[in-house]
Amino acid sequence: MRCEVAVLGGGLAGLVAAARLGEMGVHTILVTRGSGSLPWQTGNLGPGEALPWGREHRKRALTWWLDLTQRLGIGYSTGRLLLPTARGEPRRIIVAPASLVGGHLLSPDPVLVAWPAGHRDFLAHLMLSKINTLRAARDLPPWAGRPFPAGLRGDETAPAIARLLATPSAGLAVDDFPRVGLPAVLGLTPREHRLAVDAWQRALGRPVFELPTLPPCLPGCRLERALRGYLRELGVEQLEGYQAILDPGTPSTAAAGGTRVEILGPGRSRILTAGAVVVATGDRLAAGGWLTSHPLATGDRLFPCGSSLPQAPSPPRGNTFAVVSAYLAAEAAAARVAAGGASPPGPAPAQSRPAPAESTPTLPQAIRCGHDCYGCQACTAVCPAAPAGFPGPRAVLSAANTGVGQAEPRTRRRGTPGYRVRQAELCLGCLQCLTSCPASSPGAARPARPVPGPRERLFSHLPLLSRLAGALPGLVPRAAPLLGLDGRTVQCLVMRTPSGRPPMLASHGTDERPGAAVHGGPGAAVHGGLGDGAPGAGVDGGRNDGRPGAAGGLVLLAGCYASFLDPSLLAATRALLADYPLRTVRDRCCGAPALALGHGTLALRYARSLLEDLLPAVRRGWQVVTPCPTCALALRLEYPLLGLPGAAEVARATIELGEFLRDAGRPLVPAFAAGEGKNELAYHQPCHTRAQGLGTPWVELLRGAGFGVRVLEQSCCGQAGVYGFLRSRAHVSGAIAADFARRVAATSSPVATECPMCLLRVRTIGATGRHPAHLLAISRSTGG
């Protein structure tokens, strides 16, 4: 992968730098290991931080910041404010989100603080006591406090309370207080926040403001979401969830025009070459002593900002510092890229001096960090199931207490902290927690597996069920209610796919002509046919099969969807891979659904059998390509965790189709002239693509093929394998899907996404959904 500027770090500084670079039209990739500090703080900007830059730079950066936040809908305003922290400590603030400004502790009027009774993260009593002591000392009228009943149990997650407080409580008497303060859980996204605040203000007839809670602090989460959404709009690609190792730039790579960043994704690492790198990894790098020997003044390609700056004031470094330094670093990096070989003209910190390198610490030591939960709650803030009753990954994880390294959850015989919390089975397995986890080891953020019930056990046999449904077409609609399937979502199983047949019924398309499936695409021409092996035939050969020992061949792992539900996808994939020696593995389940449903033994059986098929080819140097992100994730992330022999080898060799095509770097022929109306697409990034830290390779491919692609806001479709079919999970799935449906409905264009389950969901809600491989195959056939 290449880009002009790589930004490392997903805290405030990293996001700001990426946003500024994106605005300037620089091709930027943001690499983050997880959430920065934003879920822990309100995103206020404080004064008094020693900024080594001139006043005009600071003013320029802050003006830009105010303008940006206005555009993002979380408008910041300025003022000399004294705002409380979650514990009521007063803090001086100069720039704060509009929703928090009302909490100015020195305002003359009395205020009513109202909170839902039983909200464990809102420290109302402590806060009010501190605030009133402060106000009494200044002869200001005290603030009053009043809980209102909200039916809270006590340990609801912040997103769940946010959902609850979206509708104002009717039982709250506000007397004649001119303003009302509420816990800062009014909406998880800027949009929800606006709606919630409006609703409260209408209901109470007076302005409301927010007071901070313990982490996850939703104003900070809101800011993070807004900034990440903005990056998506700007076309800044985001590689999330894995640590990166920065090559400081040996002369050879510098001459080759880039700094190498190695991203330690699951299975294998990927190399990103960037013209310049903005380092915003906090003090991880600085602590290793490494950055001090590479300051800005040396004029190389590294632009540290925020706490990564060796000249930064000692911790804690505030948000003002992060915003200003990131803004300036972004401009310097952009100038560096524009100037080519010249040194950056951007404003360097006045005190920047190359510190003498006492030793040369190895980079990996400097940047790598531990493997365990920090208790930061970032995962809870991003968990799509958390607003709907799931106790949150952190709660489940701590209960599971998997502990050190990458140990699998074990069952302890008896004794102290237990293993399951109630409703642990509501975990979707989307792994958004993994991408948000600042520790981000697969063992760290992984919630415990649920214990499967009889239904879960049954649904773990996905290939068997698909086969059965194919043989007895009437079975699915009739059996659905008996099996506890959700009646609405199961509709998608019998809906018609683009191949023109109901997906379940198309499971064994022995008479299926792939040519028809891809609308006369080249797949048929190149590959002849799908191979009409009997059901269950493990491996069928493509045309170029049978070259044992040949390196560089591909094993195409079709996955359940392409095998059973939509064979035309298989044809399209094969068409895209026409130039490579190809073997196809179909009718094989990767075991991910069984694993997600907690049926571990079956998952192991599937995994072993699949590994047996793949290993010989992998040992010959072949790569495994799959159009299904869940299969790729299972092979790269789950199998090594299961400790299966050969899993690491296969993980190294596994590559998702989009990633493969992008990295293959074959020029794509634009199928459409720009501006043609019919080529507009909305792209949804599936959770499992995100969880592999892949970024959005398909977007690049589709854009290269001439499609106009708009990336949809990050969300989960709520389907998650068979999760969405189970009636016991229908309330969670439905709540998540409603949000997803809103986003999809807002776009009139067809939705492209590579995850079969997301596709099913898209079709269930009545929109057109296509796998990008289909679209590419079509574009090739029509335009090529």
């Binding site: 149990r153 906090g282 531990g370 709660a395 302890r412």
Partner: protein, 520 residues
């Protein structure tokens, strides 16, 4: 309950005063109360504020001392069995392993087996296959033996001793220290103490000095010279609990060769660094000690090499000073005898003062029995101790333990207040003791000992107590700041390096302002 809280303590009426609320002091108090002797215990901070609250929580099987000190090993083995029987509720991980790693001397193994056999320690060799099944995380192990080592919840045991002793008529006065000791006619005639409610004079017949690191200064008050050797041991806490057994290295006792699971964490330790009395008052782990413990722990359990350290802490062993050793003792620090030092100061011309220091946590009952025997002989009443046969009831809040697994949602307070240790609000309320404050909750239900180090659960608990009217907001804020500062003490030595960075930032966001100015 008034006796438990130490309210309304009469100035007189207690024949025996025990100074020091560690395991020895409380053990002696309990033993005396079992014999029907009413005693008063003075503790200057809280139970377990010294070494008894800062050890690794290992209930020795005796294996560690089988070669170096067979008598202590045999006593450990005996007391281990007894404690499991009488107070089984405080035992957490119930077994342990001795592992010989590639670098260890194979000859020691045979010597050790022989010694274990003699000391009555059941050490069973484990074949590699069984070992792999029981503990899947080990790397290259040359030999493994299963022993009845265990981990123990020290704070709960201390509280249980206190509660049971108070129930039987003893009294515990927290926040009280001895300021002067009056010796007339070769015997102790009076004590001047500074109690929580002002100075007070006591006239006991016998004073037991079990003040741990403070034993020397206390003896000095009576004009006695008690030379003690203070040795600091550093321990590292790792988050998570991938094992259920204690790990020991099968080699002569050395630094950093024990790993002990404790609730949801693993403890690794320890070191031995001689410190002065001033340093012992607030033991602080040194960087080289932390590094040593981490390195050794990673050798024993390789997974720990990839794991961050949650916090570090140090405790101080009190050992008899070389001048009090029997002649011919080795001067190497690990070779100092580890059994308790019991001195009847009648020999120094002060009747009625008994000093007891050192010893292992495991053998506290046996030592306390000896001390109480001595006390009884001073008082002239010759009852035998029933402590070897008396079951110790758990403190009441431990009955809430089943709620760990499935908190009852319907009952009030069944919600989880601390996600790391799965503590429910109901448990917090049950364990609340205004005398010990928020910090007492940490010792009683492990609030703040988990992954978040109290950054989330301690404020929540404070809010809960204020909301319930059990604590006023101002005091709560002070106690919260104190607790967080204390938590910070264990995080600060780890610096901003590597993994602890997040915890650091986390604390900056939540902890009192002083945290940011502490040494970094």
């Amino acid at each position: 309950m008034s006796a438990v809280k130490g309210a309304g303590v009469p100035g007189a009426g207690y024949d025996v005063v025990v100074v020091g609320g560690g395991i020895l002091g409380l053990g002696v108090l309990w033993d005396l109360s079992l014999r029907g002797i009413r005693a008063l215990l003075l503790e200057k901070a809280f139970p377990g504020a010294g070494t008894s609250g800062r050890f690794h929580g290992l209930l020795h099987s005796g294996g560690r001392y089988a070669v170096s000190d067979p008598a202590l090993a045999a006593e450990c083995a005996r007391e281990n069995r007894r404690l499991r029987h009488l107070a089984g509720w405080c035992v957490d991980a119930r077994w342990g392993l001795f592992l010989r790693l590639p670098g260890d001397d194979p000859a020691y193994e045979a010597v050790w087996r022989e010694a274990c056999l003699r000391a009555g320690i059941p050490a069973r060799p484990l074949p590699p296959a069984a070992l792999g099944r029981l503990v899947p995380h080990l790397d290259d192990v040359r030999a493994a033996y299963r022993v009845p080592d265990a981990s123990i919840d020290g704070f709960s045991l201390l509280e249980a001793l206190r509660l049971d002793a108070c129930r039987r008529g003893a009294c515990v006065l927290l926040g009280a220290s001895v300021t002067a000791m009056e010796v007339t006619g070769g015997r102790i005639s009076g004590l001047l103490i500074q109690g929580p409610d002002g100075p007070r004079e006591l006239h006991p017949k016998v004073v037991v000095n079990a003040a741990g690191t403070g034993a020397g200064p206390l003896a000095a008050l009576a004009g006695l010279d008690l030379p003690l050797l203070l040795q600091q041991g550093t321990m590292a806490v790792y988050p998570g609990r991938p094992l259920d057994c204690v790990l020991n290295r099968l080699r002569p006792p050395a630094d950093g060769d024990i790993i002990v699971p404790s609730a949801s964490t693993l403890l690794a330790g320890t070191t031995a660094v001689t410190v002065t009395g001033r340093e012992a008052a607030q033991p602080a782990p040194g960087q080289d000690e932390i590094e040593l413990v981490r390195r050794q722990a990673a050798e024993l359990l390789p997974a720990l090499g990839r794991c961050r350290v949650l916090r570090v802490y140090a405790g101080v062993r009190v050992l008899p000073h070389p001048v009090t050793w029997p002649a011919g003792g080795s001067r190497e620090s690990r070779a100092i005898p580890r059994d308790a030092l019991l001195v009847d100061h009648s020999r120094d011309g002060v009747r009625g003062l008994i000093t007891v220091v050192g010893g292992k946590f495991t053998t506290f009952r046996a030592v306390a029995e000896q001390v109480a025997d001595l006390v009884v002989s001073h008082l002239g009443a010759g009852t035998r101790s029933p402590s070897a046969r008396t079951a110790l009831p758990p403190p009441p809040w431990l009955h809430h333990r089943p709620a760990l697994l499935h908190p009852p949602r319907t009952s009030a307070g069944g919600w989880v207040l601390c996600d790391c240790e799965r503590v429910t609000a109901a448990r917090v309320l049950a364990a609340w003791d205004p005398e010990q404050g928020l910090d007492g909750l940490r010792r009683r239900v492990r609030l703040g000992m988990g992954v978040c180090q109290g950054a989330l659960c301690l404020p929540r608990a404070a809010e809960l107590l204020v909301g319930a009217g059990l604590l006023d907001a101002g005091t709560a804020a002070c106690q919260l700041a104190d607790c967080l500062r204390e938590r910070w003490r264990g995080l600060a030595p780890l610096g901003t390096q590597g993994a602890s960075r997040t915890a650091t930032t986390f604390f900056h966001a939540l902890a009192p302002r002083e945290a940011s100015t502490l040494a970094l």
